[in-house]
Symmetry: C2
Subunit: 173 residues, 2 copies
């Protein structure tokens, strides 16, 4: 069976977001065990000029959502960027998952050659064909924010391993 | 044109490794400007029980190399994990790129349904079909180590932005 734009995007984003949610659940449990409020992690950064944890989660969600919206041409719901707690960040992931589940695969397929113009930084745009956009922008961008979120949790002592990122609840550790 | 196993792997890995090399070059220039030896970055970690920078680069290279080797059935060269300098780490990236360039695309295509068994941690293995292996293991794993390397440089004050990770030398900043 040939790989399609839908099979190379939807399952990767949905699995990634499920695994990200699993990492957040482990962080909440770890905070309870170490007796601190998990919400102190919402604002942590790896460098003063990097975005905080909450933004990494929001952008991971939006990277998936906007990639699917741009390739399919289906308008995605806009979520306010106002989460301040783990519960709210996990709800953001859940809302993103719910929307992704409504997108029919055939709305993505066959759109390899469409032009997709997307913002890069504050005042520039870039245009790539559908397939190149998925492979060279949307997927690397999604994993960038997923991994940065993971790195922030690990840097703050949360007991995660790479299998939590790769396998989520199937990690079994 | 349909997406294939080769078009969904080789260009992503080659672009990613080129962008990673670009980030290392910027780190070397930044170390020179800040007047420290870039090789002190080779051993930095985000947490005491995470792998150091050198290992992130090695595993990013091997994630690409082994994914292509396992899908194609072509044996990949084995590199010793003995790099202690930026020059050696950049040579590791270059050697990986050289080998990837020798792999014919048609050796990867059509292998969506083959069983691929690969090590997970020290004493376990996992088996996935070729397509699932690429989408749910090889690509997320590759970007995990690329991003962790980036995060280590940023955490140590190197002047990188996400466009260096996504666009490499085309980032223009």
């Amino acid at each position: 069976m040939a790989i399609t734009l839908s099979s190379a995007s939807l399952p990767i984003f949905r699995t990634g977001l499920a695994n990200l949610d699993h990492c957040l659940a482990k962080a909440e449990a770890n905070a309870a065990a170490r007796k601190f409020d998990p919400n102190v992690l919402v604002t942590v950064r790896l460098a003063p000029d990097m975005l905080p944890f909450a933004a990494q989660i929001r952008i991971a969600c939006d990277a998936a959502k906007l990639a699917v919206a741009r390739i399919s041409g289906i308008e995605a719901p806009k979520f306010e960027d106002n989460e301040t707690t783990f519960a709210e960040l996990r709800a953001r992931i859940a809302k993103t998952q719910e929307w992704l589940a409504t997108v029919p695969a055939d709305k993505l397929d066959g759109r390899e050659e469409i032009d997709i113009t997307f913002p890069v930084g504050r005042d520039k745009t870039r245009t790539l064909k559908g397939e190149a956009y998925l492979k060279h922008w949307a997927l690397p961008n999604f994993f960038f924010h997923m991994t940065t979120a993971y790195a922030l949790l690990r840097h703050n002592g949360v007991d995660l391993g790479k299998s939590d990122y790769l396998l989520g609840a199937q990690a079994g550790n």
